[in-house]
Symmetry: C2
Subunit: 403 residues, 2 copies
């Protein structure tokens, strides 16, 4: 699929441009600039990895200091594990863009993704900026989605529309990520924009809600990245009455649209998981609380034995049940556990379901999308995690790729 | 290597015999019986997986009821996830052996390893027992080590000698395990015997100490099995004065020998890890406490990104540092973290070490045994975990094998 074929809706008040700085990749764009209308508000969430990259530190500081005017993103180099020089380099890249655009360094948010531990080539990045800035365009979303890719095999770009006070609002977002994916801000990078007018506190609340049910509910390999960041921009160009109350139909409409868009982007990340051949939903029901439901769901989603069985389309309920058993749920009564693969019950009361047949199990595993549903029979809480299988190609990609 | 070539020392008071019951494998032994002298004491540790196999439940009950006379082990079928029928089958197999040996059902401890969720073929198992019992022999250790293998590629058998009151005592053990290996009684099965005379409480204490530093400090894939069990038998045939005090030279000698033997067996399990090409020691030093040291060590040892880099012999310090960062250590100051690969410092103060060169990193990764050493600079606690890399063959073995 060529980038121009990706369907999307531009967002008034936001322009994008890409360029090739040769940071690591040759013959492809690896720099992206987002230019925000002065009326914009910006919400952001970052990695919770204690080892966070220099641009994450700088972006957090700038966001606390000034209203962002530009986002500067590069792929190919994470500027992580680069110590004090990394901070200097991240700042220097912001200063370069600030000079070309006549704004303050603090009005630039930097983002990087790629190899850890190599110095960021600030000179090459800065040299590319004039050409990039000359191409700013509200329709460059497909190019933007491609410019931020690393091991991704497909660009990830989604648009939605929703109604606000009789007007049609737009939300469009891009994401990248295929490995080093685990909760605590699971996507490596996602940039989402709406033309709606939204107060900063409500915008942050909206983003946090959407991320909890999407990027923070996926895992490919359990490895939380050093550079994860997700940004939600409200350009305010729609001219709708300011959304500044949560208990309103307008905020609900915004939340619904952003939730759906984030889930679609998060699903695209898992579908593009390194080496993935299957999209797997693990849903844990009837837990005593959400924490234990998540604990069981992630234990299954991270189990190499479960993931290799999924790759083999093997309805291996024993490995799933063993993962439930070792998840650390206090006083778990394994004899009450029920497990389904799609519609097929494979475990009843902690043992193989009497009606279960290998043929039915094999049929449930045959598709490219699989639902593993577990009932703990301990309460009413629920959690769901999206993951993928574990294939030869995961090993190949991560043995060959220097992240 | 043929089984007969494995060096070992027999243990007076213990006889072993193997046989082929055709439980799952054809053309190889899959049943093992251990016959214990009446003077024996027995200590045991079992899986902490809430989903534990029927033989684990039965063995625990029998151990609490009577002094064991026989251990009955089969490979090829785990008798796990088999519900009430599994318990009946495990008991029935004990009863069969009890009848042939004229002892009580409670004097038999059953152990199983293999496929989860298939009924145990008790009839075939029982039918093989008369021939097995006719072959009981103190020298059958190498055959025993082979009979309990599943995905193992090599048998694991170790002997040690130690001095007790001027006499020479012996301790010999076997283990099996290559996948579904993680702490909380990490080995799937290990049987160890000494001819020393040891009080039950001291024997259990000795086993727990040895397991903490060996089987419970290894991981291959983070998947704790349903059938893990480790048994230490003291036959008492040596005639040494009863060891019933911990603060004695005799207990110290026993402990040292059993510790060393368990570590050697545990190391053999990791070396035989499914698809493993490297033996990796992760040592976390200068932690605030042992719990956080273990937490960091296991996060690294379980990281698919670190394990695939190890497979590729890639000195990828960024992935190791990212795993340290996401391990959940409260208030971790990543800028104080130091990391070495063997003798080569790759990370100083949270960034790439200034003296580090790719050539030195590559040299440190070239061997089949790798030490990853991390200093957190937070205190004086230490933990160490043995693991292996993650290769194409791990995926192949677990996609093909129905555990």
């Amino acid at each position: 699929m060529s980038a121009s074929e990706l369907p999307f809706l531009p967002v008034a008040g936001l322009q994008l441009a890409t360029g090739a700085a040769g940071i690591r990749y040759q013959g492809r764009d690896d720099v992206l600039v987002l230019a925000l209308a002065p009326s914009s508000n910006v919400a952001a969430m970052f990695t919770r990895n204690a080892f966070c990259a220099a641009p994450v530190t700088v972006a957090r500081q700038h966001l606390a200091t000034a209203a962002p005017r530009y986002l500067l993103i590069n792929s190919g180099n994470a500027n992580a594990g680069t110590g004090k020089r990394g901070l200097t380099d991240a700042l220097a890249s912001c200063t370069a863009l600030a000079q070309f655009t006549d704004c303050a360094t603090e009005e630039i948010l930097p983002f990087s993704t790629g190899v850890i531990g190599e110095p960021l080539p600030v000179d090459r990045l800065a040299a590319a900026l004039p050409n990039v800035l000359a191409r700013l365009d509200a329709n460059a979303w497909p190019l933007a989605a491609r410019a931020i890719m690393t091991t991704d095999t497909v660009p990830k770009l989604v648009s939605r529309q929703f109604e606000l006070n009789g007007q049609t609002a737009t939300v469009t977002g891009i994401a990248k990520g295929a490995g080093m994916i685990c909760p605590n801000m699971a996507t490596m990078l996602a940039f989402i924009a709406t033309d709606a007018t939204v107060a900063p506190a409500l915008l942050q609340r909206c983003l946090q809600h959407a991320v909890a049910g999407s990027f923070n509910a996926i895992t490919i390999d359990g490895d939380t990245s050093t550079n994860d960041a997700c940004v939600l921009i409200a350009t305010g160009t729609l001219g709708n009455p300011l959304i500044d109350q949560a208990e309103t139909a307008e905020f609900a409409a915004l939340q619904t649209a952003v939730d759906a868009l984030c889930l679609e982007l998060a699903t695209a990340i898992v579908r593009d998981g390194e080496g993935a051949t299957k999209l797997v939903t693990v849903r844990v029901e009837n837990a005593a609380n959400v924490a234990e439901a998540r604990q069981v769901a992630y234990t299954i989603a991270h189990s190499p034995l479960v993931k290799t069985a999924l790759f083999a389309s093997d309805p291996n309920w024993g490995r799933i049940l063993a993962a439930v058993g070792r998840a650390g749920v206090v006083d778990l009564d394994i004899e009450r556990v029920q497990i389904w693969l799609g519609e097929v019950q494979i475990v009843s009361n902690g043992g193989r379901s009497p009606e279960y047949t290998e043929a039915a199990g094999a049929a449930a595993m045959a598709g490219a999308e699989i639902l593993i549903r577990i009932s703990l029979e301990r309460g009413a809480a629920l959690a769901q995690v999206l993951t993928c299988d574990f294939s030869y190609d995961y090993v190949r990609i991560n043995a060959e790729y220097r992240s």
